[in-house]
């Protein structure tokens, strides 16, 4: 009789994720990206020793690293809290099968231990430890230190379980803030104390037993905690959220577009996935800080990049997944008293609104000079006049449904990515650079700015024609999109 194996199931689960089922080219692209990231981390790991040795020359690098590690651990905990998905939902399907609960839990623990989030110690700290050995540190010392770090990272891995299911995150964040405060004013050196603890572990190789014991303890505690959570009305219960009241009456003056815009705003604020993406859009506002501060980029095409990104963050992150945001109820929208034109116009208005708001929020960039802000405004105008339509146009190529209230897994954001959409980056981002460059050839910096404005204004004046073209494309792809979004079996 064949025996039941979690491993076989896990393998199937991995191989049948949408990422694997996408086209080969995209899989390769993602593969390269993963390799690139891994290589970057490795590079960081190898070079830490030398960077630290150069920047803090008066103490051994290991001491500096140990002092810094506390922040690293804390950052990792926060990262896990906000991003890591725990595989608890898988438990439910096994509860009624003749498998001991212990085994189910063991599988869950194994799964979270093998998570991508635990690669840090291997990619960053193992190379560092090896460099230590090369530099003459006793191997048992470097390796026991590495095992300590590994054990601590895995303990944090388990800790993230608890803080997810309880309210522990607040005392932890509070504790760290108090620690920082005490440290800053040199009352009690809590943080550097913790750093010294790590240093002690490094100096006493046998001390590795302490973190290992902690790990064992955490593992057992998590297992026990999970066993208690194995009931439909405790851990497996989907958490009911409090309703976020949003009375958006003031939007009613937008007339017939109001219901759809209100709906989009609710979508953004009430769904985990949308919030994640919009948060990214906010980070785009700071994109200019990379380019506008450095003299080597002054008035170069890189400035145009920055100008497009600072105001176009929402358009690029949220906009490129139109219409997938509405995938869960796309059939409803297709049957309602609502034309495709109305639907797309509302999306356009929302993106335009975001660009205007971003342009206003970018006013502080005036600090870097009038030229910078002029370019940002020109970029905003280009985004409104052309960028938005290109984004909507490229959206028809995007047929991967989005689960709104589920956190994105690692690389899941690439799921809705495809080659056609990638190609649309050229007109969206590279074209403005080219237009600016052409303008500068004739009339210098402000010539480039003016030419960008001309293109943006032209798009704005032709907006009805452009929208018609977009609508045509959406109507053409309607059935294919519906089929992809509903994923109904062909019966």
């Amino acid at each position: 009789m064949p025996t039941f194996s979690f491993r076989a199931l896990n393998k199937k689960k991995l191989l049948r994720t949408p990422q694997w089922e996408t086209k080969l080219a995209i899989r390769l692209l993602i593969g390269f990206f993963v390799l690139y990231m891994a290589a970057s981390f490795l590079l960081v790991g190898v070079s830490i020793y030398f960077i630290v040795d150069e920047t803090v020359p008066d103490q051994p690098p290991i001491l500096t690293v140990n002092q810094f590690l506390v922040y690293y651990f804390f950052g990792e905990l926060l990262l896990r809290y906000f991003l890591q998905q725990l595989p608890v939902t898988d438990i439910q399907s096994f509860l009624l099968l003749p498998i001991p609960k212990r085994r189910i839990i063991r599988n869950v623990l194994l799964k979270i231990t093998l998570s991508l989030y635990n690669l840090g110690p291997f990619l960053i700290f193992l190379p560092f430890a090896i460099v230590l050995i090369v530099k003459g540190v006793a191997p048992q010392q470097a390796l026991s230190w590495w095992f300590s770090v590994l054990a601590l990272v895995l303990s944090i891995n388990f800790l993230s379980f608890f803080i997810r299911k309880t309210a522990w995150i607040y005392p932890i964040v509070g504790g760290v803030l108090i620690g920082l405060f005490l440290e800053q004013y040199e009352i009690v050196p809590v943080i550097s104390g913790a750093g010294q603890g790590l240093q002690w572990l490094y100096e006493h190789p046998l001390g590795v037993l302490a973190p290992l014991a902690l790990l064992a303890l955490m593992g057992r505690a998590t297992a026990r905690f999970l066993i208690k959570q194995c009931y439909l009305d405790t851990g497996l219960k989907s958490r009911r959220e409090r309703v976020l009241g949003m009375r958006l009456h003031f939007l009613d003056r937008l007339g017939e577009d109001a219901p759809l815009i209100k709906n989009d705003l609710r979508l953004i604020f009430r769904n985990i996935r949308a919030r994640q993406v919009v948060l990214m859009a906010v980070l785009f506002l700071f994109y200019g800080l990379i380019f506008f501060v450095q003299d080597i980029y002054a008035e170069s095409p890189m400035w145009v990049f920055a100008a497009i990104f600072t105001t176009g963050g929402f358009m690029l992150t949220y906009g490129q997944n139109v219409p997938a945001w509405d995938s869960e109820y796309y059939a409803l929208l297709m049957c309602q008293n609502l034309s495709y034109r109305g639907y797309l116009k509302a999306k356009w208005l929302l993106m335009t609104l975001s660009i205007v708001v971003s342009a206003i929020l970018c006013i502080p960039y005036l600090y870097f000079g009038l030229k910078v802000y002029a370019l940002i405004l020109a970029g905003a105008l280009f985004n409104i006049g052309l960028g938005t339509f290109i984004t909507l146009f490229s959206g028809t190529a995007n047929r991967t449904p989005i689960k709104l209230n589920v956190k994105a897994k690692a690389f899941e954001n690439t799921q809705a990515f495809n080659l056609t959409q990638f190609l649309f980056v050229i007109p969206k981002v590279l074209a403005p650079v080219g237009i600016f460059w052409l303008g500068t050839l004739g009339w210098g910096f402000y010539g480039g700015v003016a030419l960008l404005c001309v293109f943006g204004t032209a798009g704005l004046l032709l907006r009805n024609t452009l929208l018609d073209q977009v609508v045509k494309r959406y109507i053409k792809g309607k059935y294919t999109t519906l089929n992809a979004f509903t994923k109904t079996p062909n019966v």
Binding site: V243, L267, E328, Y329, A331, L332, N405
Partner: protein, 231 residues
């Protein structure tokens, strides 16, 4: 009035629906029965222009549905949960549909009042997103929303499934009353022969995509259908 002509749907070489001709006059309560895979949902999806017909066309109120969106002004539907917007509260969802159908907030609130017994104090004012409601309550919301703005045609796929007995009875009354007072055309599919024969005045039976029976209701209709499905 809805007219289907030479309507077929094929997936590859497999034909899942083939209806040479069918006419549903206004004000009719049209019931659709058939086993799984008979093509009921396919038929409704074609009428709602959610899938593309392989041949033929659907004409709703004078408009070919795949060529003109005007049919949306007069037609409403509830097929499944994908017709709900999970992150809205029931009130917001009703308002969203009402906005699209040009029904004012005040009119909507007044219109919703008679539904209080159907809602059984479990829907309105709960400060809960639709995605957190039970299947049955989600269905109630979807069914009621389909009636907002007095559409001329209402299409409901399996409206009785997942509802508790009291709600099933109330829904039957609601459909009959709406059909009588507003002359609404109802297209209803169901696995429940008793309910569907009670509510509808015409029953069409599909099997493997073919139209097998098309009967105007008589007292014998239920036993006739039961005899057919007994095989």
């Amino acid at each position: 009035m809805i007219t289907l002509s030479t309507l077929t749907k094929k997936y590859g070489s497999q034909e899942v629906l083939n209806i040479p001709e069918l006419e549903i006059p206004s004000g009719q309560c049209f019931g659709l029965v058939g086993n799984n895979g008979a093509g009921k949902t396919t038929l409704f999806s074609l009428i709602l222009d959610l899938i593309r017909p392989s041949t033929g066309q659907v004409i709703n109120n004078g408009h070919v549905v795949s060529e003109n969106e005007a049919w949306k002004n007069t037609t409403a539907a509830f097929i499944d949960e994908s017709f709900l917007i999970g992150y809205l509260t029931p009130e917001e969802y009703f308002q969203f549909v009402a906005d699209l159908r040009q029904v004012s907030k005040a009119t909507l609130e007044e219109w919703l009042e008679p539904f209080a017994p159907l809602f059984n104090d479990e829907i309105l004012g709960k400060k809960k997103y639709l995605r957190d409601f039970s299947k049955g309550n989600q269905k109630k919301v979807g069914l009621v929303a389909a009636l907002i703005g007095a559409p001329q045609t209402v299409i409901l796929d399996e409206p009785f499934a997942n509802l508790d007995p009291t709600t099933q009875i109330r829904l039957k009354e609601l459909i009959q009353k709406t059909a009588q007072t507003q002359h609404t055309t109802f297209l209803i599919s169901s696995h429940d022969l008793t309910h569907v024969t009670e509510v509808c005045n015409r029953i069409v039976l599909l099997e493997k995509g073919q139209l097998r029976k098309d009967i105007l209701k008589t007292p014998e209709t239920l036993s006739e259908l039961e005899a057919y499905f007994k095989g």
